[in-house]
């Protein structure tokens, strides 16, 4: 009996578990990734694309699974788990590289002048204490003068002169100046024109307009300079009267909605007690007939009891 044909048919059904290619497949088990570096077989590609792709995918998956089964395993409640090796393929970065910080004014100046600047350490060696201390901040050395128990004062110094206080003021001024410069740097970096030349120009124009209208005749009888333009106010702009009413309704409803939310934010609920909320200030004014709490101290008036009530309510 010849069984070779049956065996061949069986073999054709079950493809080989070992994948052999001209260039071996690159397997990165950590990423569960296989890359096939072989050139594409043009013949089978053109003949049947689907078949070709399926075959490629099958080979890759087979290789990956074979690689996974050769990995060391650990036992778990759900069966053996393969220990994935570390990843080898370098995935590209997900996000763009961070932009370099815009240079500060000083950094730009230093670059222009060719000044090489070494950033100072925060710590400084203290000879007296024989340890590293902060230049500034907690126990900073910049407060040395302020903390000294004895300070030399110049002969012609003011009798009220307080060297500790003066040093403190100086330090605080330095901090304020630095903060101002820091904010200016931030503003420059964000590219806002708040302190730019255009705003300066607008400011100047505004002050010129103000001064021109600040004479007794509101600038009417002043001598005109050559090329001086006539002052013009801001022209008001209104919506057209024939705009769609439905549009208008929408914006009005929106406005009402926003007003509601504003009111909710701003209004505080009156504090409640048993007799209803009492406005202590108003109760005093009412009970003393507008003379204030002091006038109520001695007087035996009808309002006394209500005052006491109000006070109690206010404290609660």
């Amino acid at each position: 009996m010849d069984v070779t044909s049956i065996l061949d048919a069986q073999k054709a059904k079950q493809q080989n578990v070992t994948v052999e290619k001209e260039t071996p497949l690159e397997i990165d088990a950590g990423h569960l990734m296989v890359s096939d570096l072989n050139p594409i077989d043009e013949e089978s590609y053109n003949e049947n694309l689907e078949e070709h792709l399926r075959a490629l995918a099958r080979d890759g998956t087979q290789a990956l699974l074979a690689a996974l089964f050769s990995l060391p395993t650990s036992k778990s409640a759900d069966g053996p788990l393969a220990q994935l090796p570390p990843r080898t393929y370098q995935l590209p970065r997900q996000k763009a590289l961070p932009k370099p910080k815009p240079p500060t004014k000083w950094e730009r100046f230093a670059a222009a002048k060719g000044i090489s600047h070494v950033k100072r350490d925060k710590k400084e060696w203290d000879e007296e204490r024989q340890e590293w201390v902060n230049r500034w901040g907690k126990d900073g050395k910049n407060r040395r003068v302020e903390e000294q128990w004895l300070t030399e004062v110049k002969r012609n110094a003011d009798p009220d002169h307080n060297p500790q206080l003066a040093a403190r003021h100086e330090r605080k001024e330095r901090i304020a100046k630095n903060e101002k410069q820091h904010l200016a740097n931030l503003a420059r970096a964000s590219g806002s024109s708040a302190s730019g030349p255009s705003s300066r120009k607008a400011e100047l124009e505004k002050s010129i307009a103000t001064t021109r209208a600040s004479t007794a005749s509101m600038g009417k009888f002043d001598r005109k300079l050559d090329g001086e333009k006539k002052l013009r106010g801001v022209k008001r702009k209104f919506d057209p009267a024939e705009r769609s009413v439905v549009d208008e309704q929408k914006s009005a409803l929106k406005l009402i909605g926003s007003m509601d939310s504003d009111a909710r934010k701003m209004r505080k609920a009156p504090r409640e007690n048993e007799e209803g909320s009492v406005n202590a200030r108003k109760a005093i004014r009412f009970a003393s007939k507008g003379k204030g709490a002091a006038s109520m101290a001695g007087g035996e008036t009808r309002g006394k009891s209500s005052f006491a009530k109000g006070k109690k309510g206010g404290r609660r």
């Binding site: 009267a241 009413v245 309704q249 007003m259």
Partner: protein
């Protein structure tokens, strides 16, 4: 004639909301016909769209009035409600005050409402709340602002003011020339 700017609308709406609260939405979003607010000179008019469109073709100096005058803007930009708005305020009023027949005439002459003339008042009316004043036969007479909350009114003597007068229908005669 022009639509209100945002600040103007805000001023008008806050004033109206003091009297009719959330019902303000019903003034703007009407089922029958679209209505809108228009400013002519310093007056605010509540006009239906159709008459507003007719009014567009009238030159500004020639246009005396259109729709219902709700009030006017003062020179300092504050909005003051006129008695002509009473119809809408009475319709949607949240808080109401009814006055006795003997209190009607004093109120219609522009006086505040004292406790002796107070017939009925909506429960839980807070202090300084805009209220619409009705006669005992439910005829709207005007509007005002409460001086005291409903709870506080009980303790007061009969001559104490309960509602500060804002506008009354007597103004139709007294301020006839400036009202509309």
């Amino acid at each position: 004639m022009r639509p209100l700017t945002e600040e103007e609308s805000k001023a008008v709406f806050t004033k109206l909301a003091n009297y009719i609260g959330k019902n303000l939405v019903h003034l703007i979003d009407r089922p029958d016909e679209p209505y809108c607010f228009r400013l002519q000179k310093d007056r605010v008019y509540y006009v239906s769209e159709s008459s507003m469109r007719l009014g567009i073709s009238v030159a500004r100096p020639n246009l005396v009035s259109l729709g219902t005058c709700f009030g006017k803007f003062s020179k300092s930009g504050k909005f003051k409600l006129h008695i002509t708005a009473l119809d809408y305020l009475a319709q949607y009023a949240k808080f109401k005050v009814w006055i006795k027949p003997n209190g009607e005439m004093p109120f219609l002459y522009g006086n505040h409402i004292v406790k002796a003339h107070l017939g009925r008042i909506t429960e839980d009316t807070p202090e300084h709340q805009g209220v619409v004043v009705f006669s005992m036969s439910d005829i709207p007479l005007g509007f005002g602002v409460t001086a005291r909350s409903t709870v506080d009114t009980r303790k007061l003597d009969p001559t104490a003011i309960i509602v500060f007068h804002q506008a009354d229908v007597g103004e139709y005669l007294r301020d006839e020339e400036t009202l509309f």
